[in-house]
Amino acid sequence: MRLRGLLRKEVLQILRDPSSIAIAFVLPLVLLLLFGYGISLDARKVPLALVIENPTAETASFEASFGQSLYFQPRRMPDRRAAEEALLSGEVSAVVVLRNDFSRRFYEPRGAPVQVLVNGTDANTARLIAGYIEGAWQAWLGQVARDEGLALAAPVILEPRVWFNAAVRSRNFLVPGLVAIIMTLIGALLTALVVAREWERGTMEALLVTPVSTSELLLGKLLPYFVLGMGGMALSVVMAIGLFDVPFRGSFLVLTGTSALFLLAALGMGLLISTVSKNQFVAGEIAIIVAFLPAFILSGFIFDIESMPRVVQWITHVIAARYFVAILQTSFLAGNVTSVILPNAIALLLMAIFFLGMTRRNTRKRLE
């Protein structure tokens, strides 16, 4: 009965201040659109400078095969200097140079060198571009072998098979992770701000001296925002599948259950932040710094956790988003893999219990 009163108060508060509803529904919509269309790791139409010092039949076939590639936008440049300047200014991302003696050395036993310069500032993109150039080079070699009937075939060829994402679309990998980031934002930011405001205005103390128990109080805070958060979650999943064409191969039941666990952990974290800081400025900063940025960088959403230094890998274990990202990526792309989902779900459960328990302890302490 008392709980019902509290819930009524929270719901009324949410309805009166539209900013909470905005956080729960408009934020995921806007963020998913922004991220979904804005974040991509697939380099396409890479601007490339082609310097051919002495055009011949061999260089022409080389140029033609680069022109065919979907990955490049090759541009002829008169000399190396001009190309290097374009590389410095960022006009092109790579330079391919065929020297004077290319055609002569082409028929020598050791072969002719093709010089490639990539702009290494962005190491990841540089690596991908180097890979594309290699692909185009290999395709050209095959072409030459066929045209000239030479026994040039490579002795071993690689047959890559990319499971779960055959087209290697980065969107399929990024959008599920995004859902975790957006939910972190909603969960932590929403409660952090709302409860910090009550502390700041002193209305929290007023609530604490009423006969309402701490558990009821926290439950009253938690439930309405939990419902809001699950609504935001459903919206995100529908958009991921409907708008971004990400396949969903797992079960919705498992997804709903794990989302609920994650949301409890995120809301718990938000409550804890606000209980500890009791100040909207600090709560907001902390929510951004301990919730959003780690979810972005330390969750495996975009950067591979296995490749981080050992110490940083340990730190990632306290980031709830890490477990949720693993569950989401697997549920969307691979299916119901118990060996991935179960341990991560247990970790989420433990984190939810920890955050909510800590909040409960801290809230009670204030009264003494």
């Binding site: 806007v30 991509s40 093709v114 180097a130 290699e134 071993v156 907001g284 730190i315």
Partner: protein
């Protein structure tokens, strides 16, 4: 004109500084983040779990396997015994890559080349998958080159000699750490600015400020200078840590960096003041700051290149001050970007800060009357 502004700036700095909690927020998290992100935000692969399913006992198959196992990138976790094991280790993420050498590998290689080697990659992280295929390709290429040499066969008519400029070892850290200068100064400056007026409004001290002899423009300047100072100090600390701790080379002109940083921070402060003058409460201010921060970071090229974004989104990035400052800060760090190329980024930045400060000034006065 200047003395009252000076006093206001002091007051602003003290307001942030005297609250121990906001002091901690300004100092602790940025440093921790710089260190953690500097180490964590990397696309470079290390210690990748690899499993082998080798059905051929021939010497060439063994050699190819040894080349994969011996690469510093990979860590062997398992030798698989049957084909169905591939699904088990990939699904459960025990291995990110399985090298499958079929029964006929050695025979194909001897009798009817080419022999094929299958590489199964976990595509849940498509970027890692692409890079792993790249690594596998270079291992196979080296194998081919040595095999041809050993068997006295002709090498391919052309070979690639790839060099990378500005970052010869292709370390992501050199790309990410300078980016953090832009990221953290943005977060701190924006939040400080957005909250400065909102807090006073909420506490009612803003009215007191208005009845002082200070003119609105003076209040505005005072409210901008304090965050600017905080941002520049914060940025300087990060640059120093980047150079001394992370050993990222700084090849450019330091003065140009500061010109860029100040223009960038002014643009951000303009946005912060706009938020500040529109909202009524601190909560709305933080929400507003957030709604600006997140898209700014995503659409800046900080984590993923702008060139990869969809064509509908790319034009929006021209409005984003972080986009220009990232080019400046990365260019000055890694490429020693000359002044004329820096200027190409500086003028749009100057335009944006002019526009955002003007808009903030207008809103500020408009909301006061």
């Amino acid at each position: 004109m200047w003395h009252p502004i000076q006093a206001l700036v002091m007051k602003e700095l003290l307001a942030v500084w005297s609250d121990p909690r906001s002091r901690v927020v300004l100092i602790g998290p940025p440093i921790i983040q710089l260190l953690v992100f500097g180490y964590a935000a990397t696309y470079d692969l290390a210690d990748v779990a690899i499993a082998f399913y080798v059905e051929d006992a021939g010497g060439d198959a063994r050699e190819l396997e040894a080349r994969f196992a011996g690469s510093p990138v990979f860590r062997t976790v398992e030798q698989l015994q049957r084909e169905s094991d591939i699904a088990r280790v990939i699904d459960s993420r025990e291995a990110a890559l399985v090298v499958h050498v079929g029964q006929t590998f050695s025979r194909d290689l001897r009798v009817a080349p080419p022999a094929s080697v299958q590489v199964v990659v976990d595509g849940r992280n498509s970027n890692t998958a692409m890079i792993l295929i790249g690594y596998a390709g270079s291992i196979v290429r080296d194998f081919n080159r040595d095999w041809l040499r050993r068997h006295g066969a002709r090498q391919p008519p052309a070979s690639l000699v790839v060099r990378s400029w500005f970052n010869p070892n292709l370390q992501s850290r050199w790309f990410i750490v300078p980016g953090i200068v832009a990221l953290l100064t943005l977060v701190v400056t924006l939040v400080v600015t957005a909250l400065s007026v909102a807090r006073e409004r909420e506490l009612g001290t803003f009215d007191q400020l208005l009845v002082t002899p200070l003119r609105p423009i003076q209040i505005l300047i005072g409210k901008s200078l304090a965050p600017l100072l905080i941002g520049v100090v914060e940025g300087t600390v990060i640059v120093v840590v980047a150079v001394l701790w992370f050993r990222v080379p700084f090849l450019g002109n330091l003065a140009l960096l500061y010109v860029g940083m100040i223009l960038y921070l002014l643009a951000v402060i303009g946005v912060g003041l706009m938020i500040s003058s529109v909202v009524r409460t601190q909560q709305q201010a933080i929400l507003g700051a957030f709604l600006f921060l997140v898209p700014s970071i995503i659409l800046s090229g900080f984590a993923t290149p702008i060139a990869n974004m969809s064509f509908a989104v790319q034009p929006i990035t021209y409005l984003n001050p972080m986009r220009y400052f990232l080019v400046i800060v990365r260019g000055l760090f890694l490429q020693g970007l000359p002044a004329d190329l820096v200027a190409q980024q500086l003028w749009p930045l100057a335009l944006i800060s002019l526009a955002s400060l003007t808009a903030a000034g207008w809103l500020f006065r408009h909301r006061l009357t």
